[in-house]
Symmetry: C2
Amino acid sequence: MTNLFIGSDRRTQKETALFEAALDVFAEFGFRKAGIEDIARRAGIANGTVYLYAASKRDLYKRAVEYGLDAWQAHAAKAAEEAAEGTEPGRGRARNRFEALCRAAYSYLAAEPRLRRIMSRDPSLFPAAPGSAEGDDPFESVNGRSVAMLERAIREGVDTGEFAVEDPAAAAELLFSLYRVMIEKTYVEEDGGERKRFEAGLSIIMNGISARGA
Amino acid sequence: MTNLFIGSDRRTQKETALFEAALDVFAEFGFRKAGIEDIARRAGIANGTVYLYAASKRDLYKRAVEYGLDAWQAHAAKAAEEAAEGTEPGRGRARNRFEALCRAAYSYLAAEPRLRRIMSRDPSLFPAAPGSAEGDDPFESVNGRSVAMLERAIREGVDTGEFAVEDPAAAAELLFSLYRVMIEKTYVEEDGGERKRFEAGLSIIMNGISARGA
DNA sequence: CAATGAATAAATTCGTCATATATTCATTTA
DNA sequence: TAAATGAATATATGACGAATTTATTCATTG
């Protein structure tokens, strides 16, 4: 173990290149028609090297998508934190955090055609997609964290009196589902009205969870 | 194919029997594995008679589902009207109508496993389902009427000051989409928490569209 | 003349081979 | 000597025709 840092660093770089290439190829061709050879070439590694980072093509798909979802989530979480930082607790902080979370998540995806494409092709990526059963979500971990993030944001508002929601957990689940629809509407229709629909939806939701007196 | 629009009583009865049988079989086996012979037998008519009411198996599917959606919609519309009847305009009538509309639509589907099954099997039945494009909705007519019904209910509330919504058309579209999610969550998970999620969602929406002073 | 159901056309399944591509592993590299 | 390679191998996929099932038609019927 002469240089553990460089070793792990190189490994991470290679892994990143692999997942980026995988996202490109899976997005362009879908799971079936995507080729390991193509992915390996684009990542600048050999065919067999792929199997040092994933157990199978399916596993590579899962890891690459998880990598993409993680980046998306991290971006949204960061934006929410930054929005909350400038505000005093209770003085609209929960609203700011919640709204920033929604906006950042939405706009990040607008700039990530690969994830949109992949999710469009493969509805099973979302928990309650038709055909999937209870424990079926392959991204339970990421999606679960997203729902938890929403729930925390809502609870903060409820605690400070900014929000009035009877069941924050159920509300978070519902909003996550609603979020899926907005995404669908965005990538499926692409009629130029997405932004408007997003704003209309966000407005209703913000109003819907806000306490009357606030 | 003969004239499909001449509606004698016998024909209507036969048509109804055919569509009912078709809903049964399509729900049980899905479009592909459903057999015309099976449907005809259950409807008590001969094989060839089916083609007096539909141009093809695909057309029969479309007509049968449309028949089912029509019944669903009619039920919800009736419930909304009845709820509105007892209330003076402006004195909570819009709220009553809107809430009744949502509840009736939801509970009707809970009692109609065939429609749930069919929609579950065939996500393309809904306008913005993955894979479908702009003019792709085979049930544009029914779905369009549903959205219009929502929009009218919202506009009534806006006019009387009960609701505060910037863009009723966008809101109606959004709510219709949200409705799809509730349905998905209902028939996919069946974990006993549907009712709770429905109530949580309806509460946020009702609050979200309501005017602050109302 | 609406309705029928046997006749016909069309679609689907199944078995086989040919091709492509996912995966392994003996060898090389750094 | 652990990580990486890429040719070798196993597995999956696609193409094709025959066999079978199923959708659709239409001459006949009540």
